[in-house]
């Protein structure tokens, strides 16, 4: 579902009458807000609903972004858990995007090297799949004591608690069902 709609349309689309009322009651009537504030940076932007990436309370956040930047974020007033409020981490979620520390290009560190080199995705992918295949082919156990086991114990996989469900599903599918890894673990263990 493409969220290419204005805030007003979005609320209509969501079919949430109560939600719309809540916005009006809180003084978020977008018609009058728009009339009053031509200078508001977010006035012409569509809000996109998201869920906070930090703890597991699952608070709703509205993200106001244009093509190139996240302009503003706020607690989602329609969300039944946080009802518009956010904590220190949820409030600053915009900076996860704007932080200058973000890595925006693949990087490569050669064996023994003391530095990263920026590389392109093709180079990076080629290295990754080559490593996976070489190690896997070398270590793959087809049978063990007469039992077909189809696994490798030479590659470890870690991660998942910050991924989306769809990503967890594909990761599980690729790394266990497709590549046969036995060492599959993530933050839930620790």
């Amino acid at each position: 579902m493409e969220m290419n709609v204005t805030r007003r349309q979005f609320l209509k689309l969501s079919g949430a009458v109560a939600a719309t009322l809540a916005i009006v009651e809180l003084g978020f009537d977008d018609k009058s807000a728009k009339a009053k504030s031509g200078e508001f940076k977010i006035a012409t932007l569509k809000p996109t609903p998201t869920i906070c990436p930090y703890c597991s309370v699952g608070c709703g956040i509205l993200v106001y972004a244009n093509e190139n930047d996240v302009v503003y974020t706020e607690g989602d007033p329609d969300h039944p858990i946080n009802e518009g409020t956010l904590c220190s981490k949820g409030t600053t979620v915009r900076q996860v995007y704007t932080s200058e520390k973000r890595i925006t290009k693949p990087m490569y560190r050669a064996p023994g090297s003391s530095k990263w080199e920026e590389v392109d995705w093709d180079f990076a992918f080629e290295k990754v799949v080559k490593n996976i295949k070489e190690t896997r082919d070398k270590s793959f156990i087809h049978q063990e004591g007469g039992v077909t086991v189809n696994r490798t114990d030479a590659i470890a996989y870690l991660g998942g608690a910050a991924l989306d469900n769809e990503e967890c599903h594909l990761n599980h599918k690729l790394f266990r069902a497709g590549l046969g890894l036995s060492y599959i673990e993530h933050q839930a263990r620790i």
Binding site: M1, M3, G15, A16, A19, A22, T48, P49, P53, Y54, S56, V57, G58, G60, T85, S88, K89, V96, R102, I103, R109, G112, S114, W116, W121, F125, V128, V129, N131, I132, K138, F140, E144, G145, V147, V149, N150, R151, A154, A156, L158, A161, A162, L163, D164, N165, E166, C168, H169, L170, N171, H172, K173, L174, R176, A177, G178, G180, I184, R189
Partner: protein, 787 residues
């Protein structure tokens, strides 16, 4: 969570033990506050006086690692003072079941122990059955070998004096807490237990949680609004990532992985092993076969056991968990490591050793938003000599949560959609896309090969579009499952089949995408009753908001409390109705002999006060942490007899003569986990920008430490430097025969990012729980001195 966040407001008493929601789940506190406004009593049990303690009606100081003593005493108090919910205990739990005579407990040990393997023969803890296999019961709960009497006997040893001598809790306060929380055993009252890693990160972590569950069962607090055993999970989707089987021992939907055990040789044998004889899990063959169909598509047929043998089989009995990965890496058994948003150099136990083990890797792939301490473990900043580390490292930049779309599952099991607000920053990509591209490239590489390794990869059914950008809608449909022939979405997991005609990537989620609507996208925030918001997003399983909700009604199907209606039996309609999706067969009425069996997942339909599921015994028993300051007051068995030890070299142990102070770790509002995201967010980095330890005024005085002094904390694993924060939040513990100091520290810091500081996990031990192998981060011994 058995319940969910909004539900907390319905509690008469809330016991927060091993958690600190005011600081670590701040918004959840809105609902805790609401409960307090309505007269609910908040009880905070914690080694440190936290901001949750500050908001609480009662606070109990508890030495880290003594939860079972604390809760065991509460169970004892409730049984001795008739606070327990008699009708619930007699009918909804296995209190009346009679245990075999081979069960015994003496001086800290249950029957059936094998010292050599540090394991128990759990058959010794079986239930007694008649010739037909029916469990023998005594509904009067008087039989000396019935669960109720055995439980009573076991916890009679947990008197308040012994308990407080171990936990260091003030006895008057302890009794007050027992009374207050035990009062929720009255019909119509509700008490909830909230816990987090303070409960789990111990060598007895799983039994800690079981102790909470036993207390809640005897008070009749499971299945009702404002009740439950509620894990406050730490990451936005650690619920989902666990549901989807990203752990070595299970596949999506909490089913076992295939092993080399003899029974697993055939698919049929494997299914026999993982399918109990009764309870809802008898449907495992339908769920597992549908999952195999999702994995292998046309390559999963009846003739090849639905592709069962493509699945890797792990070595039976071998532990492949997190710490064991680093043990194996240390032994040079592992060549490559792939990390998706993971930073063990900060987050792993005894992390300096884990970091050193990484030097044995041939290659590492790190996928993250920011540089992590792990992806840069070879740098000089990390204390390494780059020239001597031959690991090839590839860093793939991932995008943030609102630069892509997908769902996350919160602690209350709500699967909520996140729409994309902006395209990924720079050249970063969604993890979904990265995995998809890896899979496509690997399948291409293996295309023309015929080795067994190639065949496994070729068999994989990867149907998410013929482009590098995967179609997420196809992934969603794959998770839900569909009819293989018609490709029509399956409506519920009840429709799944074991003949290969249906698929389901993760059966517990089946039903979130029936036909054409992805229900995780729902945004109708009208309260449908008891704040369950049934039309907001989707909750697994089956959009059910409170698990075991059959237990919210009495034996006749009437709600225990008119103020807390979960579901009720409507005789006229002939079905269960109410404020939630029934956790029960919808039209199962009073004439059915299993009408009063609310725990449908369990064999026998009852809540298990006595269970042979865990490795160290059917009842939680107190043992001291791996590193501890005193001898065990409850028996001569000092340490959990079922804990397995890992690589010795990774696991130095400290003794109390050299390291007399108890230490624990915790989190802060301003930072998150290993700090990768928050220490790179300028405002958060500014809010808390240094590593510190909290120490009591008394300890500071003893050690000549002043506020903001640089101090060194040392353990058997290593030393770190941090600032001292002198506080009244920690007090010396008056234990049975001595006074012990206790300190605490956050574990968010490392050497990368805007805010940097020493890593607490350089101090923590590399030892884990006897069931889950979660590391014992929360209780270890240290010493402190001025730098």
């Amino acid at each position: 969570m058995t319940n969910h966040w909004n539900d907390l407001q319905y509690a008469d008493a809330l016991m927060v033990i091993g958690a600190n929601p005011a600081e670590n789940h701040p918004i959840s506190f809105r609902w805790i506050s609401k409960a307090i406004e309505k007269g609910g009593k908040l009880i905070s049990v914690d080694p440190r006086y936290t901001r949750t303690s500050q908001m609480a009606n009662m606070y109990a100081q508890l030495r880290s690692g003594t939860d079972i003593a604390f809760i065991g005493g509460m169970i004892n108090y409730a049984l001795e003072n008739n606070q327990y919910h008699n009708e619930y205990v007699a009918n909804y739990t296995n209190a009346s079941w009679i245990v075999e005579d081979s069960y015994s407990f003496e001086d800290g040990m249950f029957s059936g122990y094998d010292e050599k393997t540090r394991t128990y023969d759990k058959k010794k803890w079986a239930f007694k059955a008649d010739a037909e296999g029916n469990t023998l019961k005594d509904p009067t709960l008087q039989h000396p070998n019935c669960v109720f009497q055995l439980m009573k006997k076991h916890y009679s040893r947990y008197d308040a004096d012994t308990v407080c001598g171990v936990t260091g809790t003030d006895k008057k306060m302890y009794i007050e807490i027992c009374k207050t929380f035990g009062a929720t055993g009255q019909t119509g009252k509700a008490g909830t237990i909230l816990y987090a890693m303070g409960g789990t990160q111990h060598t007895v972590g799983t039994q800690n949680i079981r102790a909470y569950a036993i207390l809640q069962l005897i008070l009749g607090n499971i299945g009702i609004a404002g009740g439950g055993v509620n894990a406050l999970r730490g990451e936005s989707n650690v619920q989902g990532s666990t549901d989807f089987g990203l752990l070595y021992h299970n596949v999506p939907g909490y089913m076992d992985v295939p092993t080399t055990a003899e029974g697993d040789l055939t698919y049929e044998g494997f299914l026999t092993r993982i399918t109990p004889k009764a309870g809802y899990k008898i449907n495992h063959p339908k769920f597992f076969t549908s999952m195999l169909k999702s994995f292998y598509g046309d390559n999963a047929t009846k003739d090849n056991e639905f592709g069962y043998h493509y699945m890797p089989k792990i070595q039976a009995g071998k532990n492949y968990s997190f710490m064991r990965i680093f043990d194996a890496m240390y032994r040079k058994e592992i060549e490559g490591m792939i990390l998706y948003g993971s930073n063990p150099v900060v987050g792993g136990p005894n992390s300096f050793k884990e970091q050193a083990a990484m030097g044995n890797l041939k290659w590492m792939v790190a996928i993250d938003l920011f540089e992590t301490e792990t992806s840069t473990f070879w740098q000089r900043e990390a204390g390494a000599d780059p020239a001597s580390i031959q690991t090839e490292v590839i860093f793939l930049p991932a995008c943030g949560s609102f630069e892509k779309e997908g769902t996350v599952t919160n602690s209350g099991r709500w699967m909520q959609y996140r729409w994309q607000a902006i395209k990924p920053k720079g050249e970063s990509r969604a993890d979904l896309e990265i995995t998809h591209m890896l899979a496509r490239r690997l399948q291409e590489l293996y295309k023309n090969e015929s080795s067994p390794a190639a065949k496994q990869m070729q068999a994989l059914y990867w149907n998410y579009g013929e482009h590098d950008h995967p179609d997420i809608d196809l992934v969603s449909r794959d998770i839900n499952g569909y009819d293989w022939k018609t490709k029509k979405q399956v409506k519920s997991f009840g429709d799944l089949k074991d003949d290969g005609s249906t698929t389901a990537g993760c059966w517990i989620y089946t039903g979130f995408y029936p036909e054409n609507d992805n229900l995780s996208k729902r945004r109708d925030n009208k309260d449908t009753g008891m704040s369950n918001f049934l039309n907001w997003s989707f909750a697994w399983p089956a959009n059910r908001r409170v698990l075991y909700n059959r237990a919210s009604a009495d034996l006749n199907g009437k709600a225990w409390s008119k103020e807390r209606v979960g579901i009720e039996w409507d005789g006229l309609k002939g079905q269960w109705v109410g404020n939630d999706v029934p956790d029960f067969v919808k039209d199962k009425g009073p004439q059915d002999p299993t009408f009063a069996d609310p725990f449908i997942m369990q064999v026998g339909g009852k809540g298990y006060l006595f269970s042979s599921g865990l490795n160290e015994g059917p009842f939680p028993e107190h043992y001291e942490p791996y590193e501890n300051p005193m001898s065990n007051s409850f028996s001569s068995v000092q340490f959990n007899p079922a804990v397995q030890f890992g690589e010795k070299e990774m696991n130095a142990k400290g003794e109390s003569d050299k390291y007399p102070i108890v230490a624990t770790t915790y989190r802060l509002s301003e930072h998150w986990q290993s700090g990768v995201m928050t220490r790179n967010v300028p405002w958060l980095a500014e809010l808390v920008n240094n590593m510190f330890i909290e120490i009591s005024e008394e300890l500071a005085k003893e050690k000549g430490i002043k506020e903001k002094d640089k101090v060194v904390v040392s353990t058997a694993r290593g030393e770190i430097e941090a600032y001292a924060m002198i506080t009244k939040r920690f007090k010396p513990y008056k234990l049975k025969d001595k006074t012990v100091h206790h300190i605490g520290m956050p574990w968010h810091f490392g050497y990368k990012g805007i805010a940097t500081g020493a890593t607490a996990n350089r101090l923590t031990p590399h030892i884990g729980d006897a069931n889950s192998t979660i590391p014992e981060y929360k209780a270890f011994l240290c010493d402190v001195r001025r730098a």
